[in-house]
């Protein structure tokens, strides 16, 4: 039974140390400004926002059909 108790104790230590680490933002490494409310810092808003806009940009410019534009612009 002793080894089981040691394993349980080790598991407890690992879990506590893991769960009490501050939340790490995966975009720039900043911690969130308020872990309880989960509100983002201005940097995080800007960083996540620019990622969203980049994705929209790539989608929109991929749909650009140069033949259409040539037809639309008068000579």
């Amino acid at each position: 039974m002793k080894p089981l108790a040691i394993i349980a104790l080790l598991t407890l230590i690992v879990l506590i140390s893991g769960c009490t680490q501050p939340a790490i933002d995966d975009t720039n490494g900043d911690t969130t400004s308020d872990p309880l409310t989960g509100q983002l810092t201005a940097n995080e808003i800007e960083s996540q926002g620019s990622d969203l806009i980049e994705s929209e940009m790539e989608e929109a410019v991929n749909d650009l059909d140069l033949d259409d534009i040539e037809n639309e612009i008068p000579a």
């Binding site: 039974m1 989960g38 509100q39 929209e56």
Partner: protein, 310 residues
């Protein structure tokens, strides 16, 4: 020994419960959503001195909002060939956009672009500076149609803030399931004409499509002028601005009190340099103003006489 193990697990639960609860709050954390998309385009940035020194450039600018704090940020990215940079300090006006270009935390350049409508294609032209070099830059606006869910949100937003007969029946879910419905599209265009919503490329795309099919519509000539406003302030004798001026003249001659003519008059009053060299048009606009103010004076006089008679 069993008691010890049970005790350890009980202790684990007691200690971990609040930690897990906190983690649950963090994972349901604030999210970031797009509020408006100002520029989504692709083009060329070329050296003024060497036409073969050029880069393919992509611009993505827009406003995002955080779900809990409601903080709004104008942000975006610019790509020169495959090198990506962040943009900061962005300012979007009627047909103009300026901002700074950053590599990490270091500013490496800036941009200044003006919108020009060539028929139904919007081009953002101007200069970008990158690492001490200046480039003439031309960006063709991409195609970004409003999505059904976004259409629903914009229509609900418009109907909450405005009294419009078309809002009388509940349209929110209907517009999401019927995004091509003419009433939903009409309400979306009404939303686009409010405040500064035309800064959103989804609104401009809707108007480009609508005006291509309805070129004489009351709102389409003001739209063309608004999109080239910044350009026509400094280039009022250009072919493009003269063409718009002719269209405005014809529209206002047809009905000086129409919404479209009123909108153009407002724009010219706010921007005295706009279409400055289109003398004939400005004289006519002044003439329309005199006619309207004369009519208003006449009505006021009649009302005063009536009041005096009673």
């Amino acid at each position: 020994m069993k008691k010890i193990i049970i005790g350890i697990f009980a202790l684990s639960l007691i200690i971990l419960a609040p930690v897990m609860a906190q983690d649950a709050v963090t994972t349901s954390a604030e999210t970031v959503e797009i509020k408006s998309l100002s520029i989504l385009g692709k083009g060329i940035a070329a050296s003024p001195s060497d036409p073969l020194d050029f880069m393919i450039v992509k611009f993505g600018l827009g406003k995002v909002v955080a779900s809990v704090s409601d903080t709004e940020v104008l942000t975006g990215v610019v790509k020169f060939d495959d090198q990506k940079y962040r943009v900061k300090n962005v300012v979007i006006g009627d047909g103009s956009a300026t901002g700074d270009i950053y590599d990490g935390d270091t500013q490496v350049g800036s941009f200044e672009l003006t919108s020009i409508m060539k028929d139904y294609t919007e081009v953002w032209a101007g200069t970008t500076e990158l690492n001490g070099n200046t480039y003439h830059t031309y960006i063709i606006e991409g195609k970004r149609v409003i999505k059904a869910k976004e259409l629903k949100e914009k229509v609900v937003d418009y109907c909450d803030k405005n009294e419009d007969d078309n809002c009388k029946d509940r349209l929110d879910n209907y517009c999401e399931t019927n995004p091509e419905d003419s009433r939903c599209k009409g309400l979306f265009r009404a939303y686009c004409m409010k405040d500064d919503n035309m800064e959103d490329t989804r609104c401009r795309h809707e108007f480009r499509d609508f005006c291509e099919e309805n070129p004489t519509n009351d709102h389409c000539i003001p739209f063309a002028l608004q999109r080239s406003q910044s350009y026509c302030e400094d280039h009022s004798d250009s072919g493009l601005c003269k063409t718009i001026a002719e269209k405005v003249t014809n529209m206002c001659e047809g009905d000086a009190e129409s919404d479209g003519c009123g909108k153009v008059r407002e724009m010219i009053e706010e921007n005295p340099k706009l279409l400055e060299k289109a003398t004939e048009l400005r004289e006519k606009i002044e003439g329309f103003k005199a006619t309207i103010s004369g009519a208003v004076d006449a009505i006021k006089s009649r009302e005063l006489m009536k009041a005096g008679g009673n």
